[in-house]
């Protein structure tokens, strides 16, 4: 089992979800995060005082997948999330020892 983690631009979420769904990925876990990187934040001004906002909002997606599917899944995310502009994000794959479905106690491949 593997875990694919993707950090993407928020407005790409819908496309990524749709692309994954057509591929057959039916489950994932999503969270709001903030990114820090080449893409710079911006400046806000309140009563004449400037505030540098360094972090930019991102969406983080976690997908548990069978080892064999991992390359495909990562590729799909990369393709769907790409705008070609700085700040598009990262996708990484990491190893998972085991997975359990809470509802049934099913394990590993059967759990996802």
């Amino acid at each position: 089992m593997k875990l694919v983690t993707a950090v993407i631009k928020p407005h790409k979420w819908e496309e990524v979800r749709a692309a994954l769904e057509s591929f057959g990925v039916t489950g994932m876990t999503v969270s709001e995060v903030s990114g820090y990187g080449r893409q710079k934040g911006h400046t806000e001004v309140y009563r004449g005082a400037e505030y540098d906002i360094a972090l930019v909002p991102k969406i983080r997606i976690e997908i548990l997948a069978e080892a064999g599917d991992v390359e495909d899944v990562a590729g799909i995310v990369v393709k769907a999330a790409q705008t070609g502009r700085i700040g598009d994000g990262k996708v990484w794959v990491s190893p998972v020892d085991s997975v359990v479905r809470v509802r049934t106690g099913d394990r590993d491949e059967a759990a996802i």
Binding site: S34, T43, G48, A49, Y51, I53, A54
Partner: protein, 443 residues
């Protein structure tokens, strides 16, 4: 001068003033969190621009002596409100400036109402420009048509009030049809928001909508009952009819939702209140309390059905200025021709009270005249601004959020709560860098 009448009109003027911030909240809560500030700024901006223009020449165009055909008051007569500070300057039983103030806030709220049609996508500068031009060529004249009675502030007033004798007690035509038609035109000029019908554009803060609805409701008693221009039984009739209509309209809207969508919603309740207020505005002096229940109930049902039409016509009237203000205003104005009763202060009988079709066609003509004038003029003004300096923000700015791109602000930062220094959270990690010296110097 009557101090009681004056007290009531001064109070009413303050109540109506509050409606504009109230509207800002009502509208602001309905948009997404990334555009709430811009939404509110359109109302506050209208207040600023129209507040100034009204003092300089707006009042005079609306209430100066007619300069031709009941279409326009003399802009020079009360230029800069000259001569009105004297305690001799009265309008009926109240100081002239109390009347000026009361009418000022009508002008302001009317312009602010329009902004609901163009949520999330209008550049702020052009909006202010639009507000000023629109008030000058649309609202001020139309107010003259409808609100300027012969022998009131000047010997000769406007054509709808005097020649046509349509009944519009507190502004069904001048305010709601006017703003609704303008909203429709402007929504067409600016076009749909990026992602309309695809992305979820649901209200980001319904309690804010409810605060706004509450303040609108409260202020509207000044709007309607204050239009009696005195503390008398006419005001009392308007007051009670306003309550009756809003209560019934809320029930009407919720009923439609329950039947159609399965659940009555809080946005529906707030919308029903406003629909009832809109519809009873022109009619509150002309119908009985039982009549007001009907007006309200009808408006609640009608507007609840009307807000879906924009999807059918493909017009992104974002916050339903048409569905609520145009439809509600038309209904309220025209229904007078049916439900007016001579036992009410306006003293006219409508069709159902045996008055025949007379009042009905007067109401219809008045309503359509304002509708057409406002729609056409707004199309022209809006298009002119669009084609010259541009009216809409860039698509990518719309996606990023107009609050940030037009106002360099974000509405909320809830995170600094327990941590150190507002470190994180959507808008995080700000390193404040205040170059006051530099800025002070160049300022």
């Amino acid at each position: 001068m009557d101090t009681g009448d004056t007290a009531w009109v001064l109070t009413s003027a303050a109540l109506v003033l509050l409606m504009t911030p109230g509207l800002a909240l009502f509208y602001g809560g309905m948009v997404r969190a990334k555009s709430v500030l811009n939404m509110m700024m359109m109302s506050f901006g209208a207040l600023a621009v129209i507040g100034v223009l009204w003092v300089v020449y707006g009042y005079s165009i609306a209430f100066g002596n007619d300069v031709g055909g009941g279409l326009l008051g003399d802009p020079s007569e009360f230029f800069g409100l000259q001569g009105l500070m004297s305690d001799k300057a009265l309008v009926f039983t109240i100081p002239a400036l109390a009347f000026v103030g009361f009418q000022a806030v009508f002008a302001i709220i009317t312009v602010a109402l329009i902004s609901g049609a163009i949520a999330d996508r209008a550049r702020f500068g052009p909006w202010l420009l639009f507000a000023g031009i629109w008030a000058t060529v649309v609202y001020f004249p139309v107010a003259h048509w409808v609100f300027s009675f012969d022998g009131g502030t000047a010997p000769v007033g406007g054509w709808i009030a005097n020649k046509l004798a349509a009944i519009d007690f507190a502004g069904g035509t001048a305010v709601h049809i006017n703003a609704g038609a303008a909203g429709l035109a402007l929504a067409i000029v600016l076009g749909k928001r990026v992602g309309w019908r695809r992305d979820p554009m649901r209200p980001h803060n319904l309690p804010l909508v409810m605060i706004g609805a509450g303040l609108l409701w409260f202020g509207w008693f000044g709007f309607n009952a204050g239009s009696a221009l005195g503390a008398n039984s006419v005001a009392a009739v308007a007051w009670i009819n306003t309550l009756a209509a809003t209560a019934a309209a809320t029930l009407g809207w919720l009923l439609v939702e329950k039947r159609r969508d399965g659940h009555p919603t809080s946005l529906g309740a707030a919308s029903g209140v406003v629909a009832g207020l809109v519809a009873i505005t022109p009619a509150c002096s002309a119908v009985s309390p039982m009549g007001a229940l009907l007006v309200g109930f009808g408006a609640g049902i009608l507007c609840a059905l009307a807000v879906g039409l924009k999807y059918r016509f493909g017009i992104d009237d974002s916050l339903d200025v048409v569905g609520v203000h145009l439809v509600g205003g038309l209904f309220g104005t025209i229904v007078i021709g049916l439900l007016a009763t001579s036992s009410a202060p306006a003293g006219v009988d409508g069709l159902l009270y045996g008055g025949g079709f007379d009042q009905l066609w007067r109401q219809t003509v008045g309503a359509l005249a304002v509708l057409l004038y406002s729609f056409v003029l707004t199309l022209i003004i809006g298009t002119a601004i669009s084609k010259t300096i541009g009216f809409r923000i860039q698509d990518e700015d719309e996606v990023a959020g107009i609050d940030f791109t037009e106002h360099s602000e974000t509405a909320y930062d809830f995170v600094a709560r327990a941590g150190g220094a507002g470190v994180l959270g959507g808008k995080p990690s700000a390193t404040v860098r205040v170059d006051a010296e530099a800025r002070g110097a160049n300022a």
